[in-house]
């Protein structure tokens, strides 16, 4: 099957190549002579480095410093003069001398080139939907992760930070959720042509408490090393990535050496950060009143012996704001970067080294460190037929954090005892207080180092035919340690270092990719044809090993596993993923007005069973530059008018390796000193690719002499053959089975971007960029939904992000308990009444960026806005009346004086009816609220220090992140919700020096 497929594709290709061979033979039969002359610009200055070549022959040279050239030419073929920023000049030479004057190209603004992965395209001629930000926008933001730099700046790309802890994760959704599986929604990341892992790495067992399993692999990339980030969104752009482009593709390109002159640059930023938004908690008095009411409501008059907060054991006048205590710190971040770049017009290089150090806002001495090295070298041969691009990146990260999140302790009783006694020892308050600080003795260390190398070689066999190959390797090594000394436990258990333990896990990820490709370009009188054909071979290997050791003679030795009485290998795994593909692109531009772009890909993945290994993907994109039609030509305010559309299919194979096999795994535990084998999953060999059919229509306009650029896009993606872990009841032995669902999920929406130059004076320039996305998600079809395990989760016509919940009516005025709508009218509240759908997630988001430059001053500010509903703190908190503090808003609880309360009467826990009503409340729409917000995401003020001496540039800047947030939500930060650290607000200052 496989063999036939590729041979079948390769054989016709050979024919095409042979055909080319013949046509090229004819060219060599022509006579030759020497042509020479001088190239000057419009001002009469000789130009150095102008390319002079005969496009259709294997022939070219460059002008010298006096603008002179001399070239052996073949008669009858035009000669072309090219120089960046100038109009290309083509002429059929008559004599032996040809002097040329090149005109500057006013259309340079249009000549923004967009990287589409396997090929580049002029922005003007683009048929697909691609968003781009460049180093200019990333600027000096003190963010650690490239995704953070993208927040609020791209239409259709919704990024949320899931934790404010350094080294934590981000959620990215490009045009919504396509897959019913969370991990099936990750985009494909490509860094300088090499695929980058999208999944969180490492051992979940170690870091889950702090990051909830979400550690972004992109953390290792320094945003300041990035030249541009392109996000491919529609079918036209993504289907060349075939099975992996379904959720969009994020292309990251690192900076290259550019100028001829050797440039040194030094950049340093220091920032201080604090939690962006705290919750308003109850005071001791309020809290104790609620507790007393709770006991009264439960009919308990004598407080139990263990109700230390109310029974007088603890000081009832004490007050501690535990939020401030545990996460109220100030974290200091230092970011320094040094780079050298230079070269000549044939060879250039960039060497950059940077270091970043992050503190945390947590109680305790923790932090994160990152070091990046980058070397990019580009070279082209004298005749420019051979080009080489290469790059090496080496990144290391160290993270030292507590092993257990302290965040849930912010809800300790406000009169809980001090953490430390007078002597500075942990205070257990005569064993009535489970001191949470003890948990800080358990620590988490991680050491991540990765290496990324890539080479891209191109050779012009003929002027219109190029062969190329790009190769990349990446290697990641992650070492994690989690210590569990006995001192984390209450001394009441009487444990010793014999109970101390450590887990050490190491993880290695290796990846190589080889992608040969061939490009052919043919000019016609009124058109241009581009053909691209290529193949991909990729392998990823992962190795993981976890060791666990316990019982130490002393906790001092805890980092040394050899000192433990018990040692155990809990995991020793490896996995391999292989992927191969053949892709092609056909692009035809007619009359510079009509563009058609055809892409296709045939993919094979080792993740599927024998009969499902291959899949076909493809798309058609078209564009019409209607602004160039006669009737529009005279309209002066329209500089560019483009209508484009695309339709195609891409796929998704994010299901994990080996899932189609029926396997036993070696269990980490032995029994009777022998290994044991555990069944790993339900067996289903027949699952296959998920399909995503994407449609897009867009209009792009440039108005008023390009002062105003507007684009509006409508997209509709339909994802079907959903590849999911179908949830199963526990009675089957597992929670899910992998399979394809016939379900179809539709993501559609509008994306509008606007860029305007409001003022453009010599020393005063003001521009505004605005983007807004209005996504909508819908479950289109799901045959036999009622019979499937999803019946209580999804509903046809509703978003898949919607939750099926009870409908809270309010608090009953007589019972004081939550009341829910009896949907089926049977007089009881049962799971059958859990039918209300409430959408959780963003329904509108975007950003406004303003850039003002006045003389040497520059001011940038970005507002980010999100309209969304989400789970409130009530979903994560505990029942009012138990020993947990909560937001002051919870005081609006039912009592005889407050019959119209929002929250039910507190209970200390022994009221079964209250507990039941509370557990229903947690599964109701009462815990889902509007959490929309508008946030001043970033403000930056920079001053370019003027220097007399040429070649020295220096700017100093002040920057602020997440400074102001407007929201109705009372539970703290509306972006990072739940049990993780809220996003931070920070101030930073720094400078950038170049000479």
């Amino acid at each position: 099957m496989k063999k036939i497929t590729f041979a079948a594709l390769a054989v016709p290709l050979m024919w095409v190549l042979l055909l080319l061979l013949f046509s090229s033979n004819k060219l060599h039969a022509q006579e030759t002579r020497v042509l020479s002359g001088v190239v000057k610009d419009a001002g009469g200055t000789p130009m150095e480095g102008v390319t002079v070549w005969q496009k259709d022959a294997d022939n070219g040279t460059q002008t010298n410093e006096t603008g002179r050239y001399s070239l052996q030419i073949t008669g009858g073929i035009p000669v072309t003069f090219e120089y960046l920023g100038y109009k290309t000049h083509t002429v059929k030479p008559a004599g032996n001398v040809l002097n040329v004057t090149l005109q500057p190209d006013d259309d340079m603004l249009d000549e923004v080139v967009i990287n589409a992965g396997y090929y580049s395209v002029k922005d003007k001629e683009r048929t697909g939907s691609i968003s781009k930000i460049t180093s200019k926008e990333i600027g000096q933001q003190p963010v650690a992760n490239p995704l953070a730099a993208m927040q609020g700046r791209m239409a259709g790309v919704n990024i949320t930070q899931s934790s404010g802890t350094p080294g934590g994760g981000f959620d990215i959704q490009i045009r919504g959720r396509n897959s019913l599986r969370t991990e099936g929604n990750a985009p494909l990341y490509i860094v300088d042509g090499v695929p980058y892992p999208s999944q969180s790495m490492g051992d979940n067992a170690l870091s889950a408490a702090i990051f909830a399993g979400n550690v972004s692999p992109l953390n290792s990339i320094n945003p300041n090393n990035i030249e541009s980030i392109e996000v491919l969104k529609d079918a036209d752009a993504t289907s060349i990535y075939g099975s992996r482009g379904s959720n969009g593709v994020v292309l990251i390109t690192t900076k290259k050496g550019s100028s001829d002159k050797t440039t040194f640059s030094l950049q340093s930023t220091t920032s201080v950060s604090t939690v962006s938004k705290f919750m308003d908690l109850m005071s001791t008095e309020e809290y104790l009143k609620m507790r007393r009411d709770a006991f009264a409501n439960d009919g308990i008059t004598e407080y139990p012996a263990n109700a230390y907060d109310v029974n007088g054991t603890w000081d009832q006048d004490r007050y501690t704001n535990w939020q401030k205590k545990f996460v109220g710190g100030v974290s200091v971040t230092q970011n320094t970067k040094f780079s050298i770049g230079g070269g000549n017009h044939l060879t250039n290089y960039l060497l950059s080294a940077s270091h970043r150090k992050d503190g945390t806002v947590y109680l305790g001495d923790f932090g994160y460190k990152r070091t990046n090295f980058l070397l990019n070298v580009n070279h082209k041969s004298k005749n420019e037929r051979f080009t080489l691009q290469s790059g090496i990146q080496k990144n290391t990260q160290h993270n030292n954090l507590m092993a257990v999140s302290m965040l849930n302790n912010i809800l300790l009783a406000p009169n809980a005892p001090d953490l430390y006694d007078k002597n500075g020892n942990l205070n257990w308050e005569n064993n009535t207080f489970e001191n949470p600080v003890a948990k800080l003795n358990a620590q988490y260390f991680s050491e991540n180092s990765d290496l990324l190398g890539q080479i891209n070689i191109n050779y012009s066999v003929f002027n219109d035919f190029k062969l190329g190959i790009s190769m990349g390797v990446s290697e990641t090594n992650l070492e994690e340690y989690k210590t569990n000394p006995h001192t984390i436990y209450n001394p009441a258990y009487g444990l010793t270092s014999a109970n101390s333990s450590i887990i050490h896990s190491s993880y290695a990820y290796r990846n190589w990719i080889v992608e040969p490709k061939a490009q052919w370009e043919k000019m016609f009188t009124k058109g241009r044809l581009e053909v691209l054909l290529g193949a991909t071979f990729e392998e990823r290997k992962q190795n993981g090993m976890s060791l666990s050791a316990s019982s130490f003679t002393s906790d001092d030795f805890i980092m040394n596993i050899a000192n433990a009485a018990n040692q155990r290998t809990t995991r020793d795994t490896e996995s391999q993923y292989r992927y191969t593909a053949l892709y092609g692109r056909l692009n035809y531009i007619y009359n510079e007005k009509y563009i058609i772009n055809l892409t296709g890909r045939r993919d094979g993945s080792s993740r599927f069973g024998r009969n499902n290994k291959f899949g076909n993907f493809g798309s058609l994109g078209t564009a019409w530059l209607f602004g160039k039609e006669k009737i529009f030509e005279d309209i002066s305010w329209l500089s560019l008018g483009k209508l484009r559309g695309s339709y195609g299919i891409s796929g998704n194979d994010l299901i994990g390796d080996y899932q189609y096999l029926n396997m036993f795994g070696i269990s980490p535990y032995k029994y009777d000193n022998e290994i044991t084998l555990e069944p790993l999953r339900h067996y289903n060999p027949d699952f296959s690719w998920e399909n995503n059919k994407k449609l897009e229509v867009a209009i792009e306009l440039e108005l008023l002499n390009r002062r105003l650029t507007v684009s509006t896009a409508y997209y509709r993606n339909r994802s079907s053959n959903q590849l999911v872990g179908i949830p199963l009841p526990a009675s089957t032995g597992f929670n899910s089975v992998n399979g394809n669902l016939k379900a179809t999920v539709q993501n559609s929406g509008w994306e509008i971007t606007l860029a305007s130059t409001n003022l453009d004076k010599a020393d005063f320039r003001w521009t505004t960029n605005f983007n807004i996305s209005i996504p909508s998600n819908k479950l289109l079809e799901f045959p036999d939904l009622e019979l499937s395990p999803y019946t209580n989760q999804y509903k046809i016509g509703e978003p898949i992000t919607a939750k099926m919940v009870y409908h809270l009516i309010g608090v009953n005025k007589t019972t004081g308990l939550y009341e829910f709508e009896d949907m089926d009218g049977d007089g009881e509240i049962t799971v059958k009444d859990r039918t209300k759908m409430v959408n959780v997630g963003a329904t509108l988001f975007g950003g406004i960026l303003n850039h003002v430059a006045y003389k040497n001053w520059e001011l940038d500010f970005l507002w980010q806005f999100v309209r969304q509903k989400n789970y409130t703190m009530d979903y994560y908190g505990a029942m009012s009346g138990t020993t947990n503090n909560g937001g002051a808003y919870l005081l609006d609880y039912y009592s005889e004086e407050n019959l119209d309360a929002k929250y039910q009467k507190p209970s200390a826990g022994s009221n079964a009816l209250a507990a039941k009503a509370y557990s229903l409340f947690k599964s109701s729409d009462g815990v889902i609220e509007d959490m929309s917000f508008i946030r001043l995401k970033s403000v930056q003020l920079a001053y370019n220090v003027p220097f007399k001496g040429a070649g020295v540039r220096c700017s100093i800047y002040a920057q602020g992140t997440n400074l102001v947030t407007f929201t109705k939500y009372l539970g703290g930060d509306p972006e990072t919700i739940g049990s993780l650290l809220p996003s931070l607000k920070s101030f930073s200052i720094g400078f950038n020096l170049e000479f």
Binding site: K2, L17, N306, N431, P516, G604, S731, T732, G909, S919
Partner: protein, 452 residues
């Protein structure tokens, strides 16, 4: 020029053709194909012993705080929860167990995972031609026994439940419930078949896997719960009369060498002792999690040596269960979790005898246990008195072990007496709620148990 081009083109085409077998990947070293497992005796045993690990790590027979022993201790009058925080076992203590309680989910989920594992063994072994008859019988016997025992616990705790006998998820995802009588019958049938396949020999050097005696001991308990007194007595006597089981001293009863242990679960790590010890033991007051309730402490008769040996007072008024004494690791594990022990056979024999009218045997068996604990013999009494004596003896002998107190009060119809010590006790508390999540995923599990 030409040659370069041809070379390049042909190279390109070769690359395309040369990807034969590229997509074939190696199987990871920590995984084994299912077919291979059941074609190898050693690997089949390894697959089976994993089921014991599953029993130990969660579900009814686990000694952790989400095992039935700890949970029912809180639910009944055995333990007093001192942990002031809202935690899943506090709901058991407070009488506010809801369908979304994490312990409920754990009990249910872990049990059916265990059942899946043994069904997987049964299917693999039955289809395999490579195993010897001896191994095959042993494997099937152990697997059937575990399947019966777990279903027995499930139906006694949750009422009507599905009886799962296949690994086919297409069947199991919509499986309906059986009533308790029918479930008990199927569990007994599984154990009966296991009894016929197993021998009195333990398959390993310790009492850590199931043999015929373990099956008989459980059959004895199940018949007792079914009120089939003669069968209950028959199997109890069967075990009592085997020479390898002898009542051990109070000091030794919970050591791994205990001669009264019929079935133990060996800790998963060398040097580790029981989770039960970890769950109960504390060193200073107030206890961080639970302590023995005053009701239980008061229930010991004066002079009962079990109060000396199995209860430890950290301070007056703050005691913990001390059957298992090691909550730390030792060079070699010294205590294993005992799932079923000979003492219970004496109690079953006594109770069945009482119902059968054999009061002599009843009191003889009771007094053996009493004398071992330093208590004087009771005079033979009426059936009614005997049943009260037996309940009292069970309360003391089996406290904090696998929820005996709950199941005893329940089958004797005495749960309502708990209202004296638990204000919030409701009649419907005789069953725990089915996990809410399961009801959502499988409509055939409806309705929820009454009251929840």
């Amino acid at each position: 020029m030409q040659s370069k081009f041809v070379l390049a083109s042909l190279l390109f085409c070769c690359i395309l053709c040369g990807c034969e077998d590229f997509l074939e990947v190696d199987i990871p070293k920590d995984q084994i194909d299912r077919e291979m497992v059941f074609n190898d005796e050693q690997l089949t045993v390894a697959a089976l012993t994993n089921c014991y690990n599953l029993l130990l790590s969660g579900g009814f027979l686990s000694g952790k705080t989400n095992g039935i022993g700890f949970l029912m201790g809180c639910y009944m009058d055995e333990l007093q929860v001192t942990n002031p925080n809202a935690i899943f076992y506090k709901n058991f203590y407070d009488g506010s167990v809801s369908a979304s309680n994490s312990a409920i989910n754990d009990l249910w989920g872990n049990s059916y995972k265990q059942i899946f594992s043994v069904n997987n063994i049964l299917e693999g072994v039955r289809n395999s031609t490579a195993l010897s008859d001896g191994t095959r019988n042993q494997m099937i016997g152990e697997a059937l026994a575990i399947r019966g025992i777990i279903h027995f616990y499930l139906c006694q705790t949750f009422g009507n439940i599905p009886y799962v006998t296949t690994t086919d998820y297409m069947v199991n995802k919509q499986i309906g419930k059986l009533d308790v009588a029918r479930t008990m019958k199927m569990a007994v049938d599984d154990l009966k078949e296991a009894e016929s396949l197993l021998t009195d020999e333990y398959p390993s050097s310790e009492r850590i896997r199931i043999n015929r005696s373990v099956v008989q001991a459980f059959l004895s308990r199940m018949y007792l719960y079914e009120e089939n007194w003669s069968m209950a007595k028959f199997y109890a006597e069967e075990v009592i009369n085997k020479p390898e089981y002898k009542l051990d001293s109070l000091q030794h009863a919970f050591l791994k060498e205990s001669t009264s242990a019929v079935w133990q679960l060996k800790p998963e790590l060398n040097g580790k002792n029981t989770d039960a010890a970890n769950s109960f033991i504390f060193q200073t007051v107030p206890a961080p999690a639970v302590q023995l309730s005053d009701h239980l402490v008061a229930a010991f008769e004066t002079g009962d040596l079990r109060k000396e040996e199995w209860v430890r007072f950290v301070e007056a008024g703050a005691a913990h269960a001390f059957k298992y004494k090691l909550n730390t690791t030792t060079a070699v594990s010294e205590e294993y979790l005992i799932v079923i022990r000979l003492e219970e056979m004496y109690l079953i024999s006594a109770e069945a005898s009482a119902w059968l009218g054999d009061m002599e045997n009843c009191y003889q068996k009771l007094n053996i246990l009493r004398n071992r604990s330093g208590l004087s013999s009771l005079a033979v009494g009426s059936q009614q008195a005997a049943l009260l004596d037996i309940l009292q003896e069970r309360r003391i002998e089996l406290f904090c072990e696998f929820g005996h107190r709950f199941y005893d009060l329940k089958r004797m119809g005495k749960l309502s007496e708990l209202q004296n010590v638990k204000v919030s006790w409701q009649p419907y508390f005789d069953l725990l709620p089915l996990p809410e999540n399961e009801l959502l995923l499988n409509a055939n599990l409806q309705p929820q148990n009454q009251g929840y």
